[in-house]
């Protein structure tokens, strides 16, 4: 390896260690019997894992988060796919609008949006009953997580040459809807998968919106985590277990993304069109 290669590996390795430390720390806490002040815990046990994962409150929170995230992904897909598709084959302005909208979550921090949605719902009599409803949380998640679906799918559609595919399908006699399902979607599968995974992850780990809109009544996993963290009488090990659980989940998620993504740079910087490959 060249000297540049060595220093590159060293730097990246150092960063890797920096990233790994908190995860290691959490892992240790989740399996520690007692940890009194020495560098490593006194003993190890799976007790905390068993106990926490069988606690009804925790299980309930997990289920709620999963339900929330799944619903978010479904709605995001159902809303974004037709719009983006139409943007490719009929009206390019749709795409531009969507890309601008995708920047809004950066201008509207989650907590701000959450509060705005809540006040909006509370303003009119018709929507008043939904003011603290989990469905509102879903809507909030949809509004804020869609960029993570949009970007990979947009990239996949561009790479697959959706326009050409659609014209071929149209001249073969297919309607737009059938083209979307039979031709386009199968060809952008990896993009959809990546987008779905990222959206799920964003919704699953999201705290602010759920907390602001539903207070503590709809306790998702992150809401439980923060409450448990701030609860002085609670046990730190249980908290560490769930954090570790989330890490493992996210890691599995990322491995999935890496496999489906195959090294293409995910176009996360909105507006940078890397039309040519390195």
């Amino acid at each position: 390896m060249t000297s540049r290669g060595i220093s590159r590996s060293t730097l990246l390795a150092l960063w890797g260690v920096f990233l790994a430390l908190p995860v290691a720390a959490t892992m240790l806490y989740s399996v520690a019997t007692v940890w009194r002040g020495r560098a490593l815990p006194d003993g190890f046990t799976v007790h905390w894992w068993v106990q926490t994962l069988s606690e009804p409150r925790v299980v309930a929170a997990l289920l709620r988060s999963t339900w929330l995230a799944t619903l978010t992904v479904l709605i995001v897909a159902a809303v974004v796919l037709p719009a983006l598709y139409w943007g490719y084959i009929r009206n390019p302005r749709i795409r531009t609008t969507m890309q601008v909208c995708a920047l809004l979550p950066f201008a509207l921090p989650f907590v701000v949006l959450a509060y705005g949605i809540k006040r909006l719902a509370g303003a009119t009599e018709v929507t008043q009953p939904w003011e603290a409803s989990p469905l509102l949380v879903v809507l909030g998640h949809v509004a804020l997580a869609f960029p993570f679906f949009l970007w990979p799918v947009d990239g996949a559609m561009a790479a697959a040459g959706v326009r050409n595919l659609s014209e071929a399908a149209e001249t073969s006699g297919a309607s737009p809807l059938s083209t979307l399902f039979r031709v386009v979607i199968p060809n952008i599968r990896t993009g959809i998968l990546t987008g779905a995974i990222l959206t799920f992850a964003t919704s699953f780990g999201e705290y602010s919106i759920a907390r602001v809109i539903t207070g503590s009544s709809f306790e998702t996993l992150p809401v439980w985590q923060v409450a448990a963290l701030q609860d002085n009488r609670g046990n730190p090990n249980g908290v560490a277990v769930m954090a570790m659980f989330t890490f493992v989940l996210m890691f599995v998620v990322s491995v999935l993304i890496a496999r489906t993504g195959r090294g293409e740079p995910v176009r996360l910087l909105p507006g940078i069109n890397t039309t040519q490959k390195r």
Partner: protein, 311 residues
């Protein structure tokens, strides 16, 4: 769904039976052009815009439903809130600058990796960037808290007392950097591929060194993208709520704009117009972030134009 070709707005080909036509041409055009995108526009676009507008209205809302600047006045006069603003801006600027300097180098290094290495790096970065706020807070407490792993390790193995307080501004800096640095790297990674290897070869054959390459070609070309990365990172840091709230809770000693907002929402601090104050803070955040966004697009746009049409 039938495929219709868009017709120009104007008199319809077959005029309706009776009465003045309510411009069927333009409505139909609109539907054919935007139809499938309407659910998206309503949920994503509409919701965001409506919420923003409502917040603006609320921040100016008076007790009797009128308009007043009271809430705005309050947030700028109350010392804790003012301190929170300064602290937030400072924190975000420090984090963004650190990311710019260190993250750009890291992104460049990663972009030079072979395909597999790059994919692996991206996977890890995706993990790090997607850490939910709550889990991250827990991890940080486990690492740098009072009985955190690193703290104990340093004490026991090296006899070194770590002075860093996780619940101070610098503790927040370290925490933010942990998950925002990967986000920055992911953001500017695609920009690295803008650098063509031929430019380095052209510099070489013209007699230039590596340093001259970076100084005259590489950095000037990259800088707009890095700067826009800075701007986005700044906005992202500013808007963080879960992480600082999970760490600091409702305490008011080390507040940020976002935790202050949380204070007004969840606890009874702030008096009678606490919701209006919360709205004012929210609008303030929105304005700063929106400005950052505009700046980001402008900066990147000019260099993008220069790169356009260069094959």
């Amino acid at each position: 769904m039938t495929v219709t070709t868009p017709t120009a707005p104007g008199p319809a080909v077959t005029p309706p039976a009776a009465g003045p036509p309510p411009r069927p041409g333009s409505l139909r055009t609109f539907l054919t052009q935007w139809g499938p995108a309407i659910p998206f526009l309503v949920t994503a676009g509409g919701l965001l815009v409506a919420a923003a507008l409502w917040l603006i209205r609320t921040s100016f809302a008076g007790p009797d439903g009128g308009w007043t600047l009271q809430a705005w006045q309050d947030i700028f006069t109350q010392r804790i809130t003012r301190d929170a603003m300064v602290r937030s801006l400072g924190l975000s600027a420090i984090v963004a600058t650190f990311c710019l300097v260190v993250g750009s180098v890291l992104a460049y290094l990663i972009s030079g990796l072979a395909r597999r290495g790059r994919a692996g790096a991206q996977a890890l970065l995706n993990v790090a960037a997607n850490f939910g706020g709550a889990s991250l807070a827990i991890a940080m407490v486990s690492t740098l808290g009072a009985v955190g792993f690193v703290r104990l390790l340093l004490e026991n193995w090296f006899g070194y007392q770590l002075g860093l307080d996780l619940y101070s501004v610098w503790g927040l800096v370290v925490t933010y950097i942990y998950f925002i640095l990967p986000l920055y790297v992911l953001l500017v990674l695609p920009a690295m591929s803008v650098l063509r290897p031929e430019w380095w070869e052209a510099v070489q054959t013209a007699g230039g060194t590596r340093w001259q390459y970076w100084r005259r070609v590489g950095l000037p070309v990259l800088f707009p993208f890095l700067l826009s990365g800075w701007v986005l990172t700044f906005a992202w840091s500013l808007g963080q709520f879960s992480v600082p709230y999970a760490l600091l809770g409702d305490t008011t000693t080390t507040s940020l704009i976002t935790t202050r907002l949380g204070n007004f929402l969840f606890s009874a601090t702030g008096g009678t117009n606490r919701f209006e104050r919360a709205a004012a803070l929210a609008v303030l955040l929105m304005v700063i972030s929106a400005l950052a966004l505009v700046a980001y697009r402008r900066i990147a746009a000019r260099m993008l134009a220069r790169l356009e049409g260069l094959r």
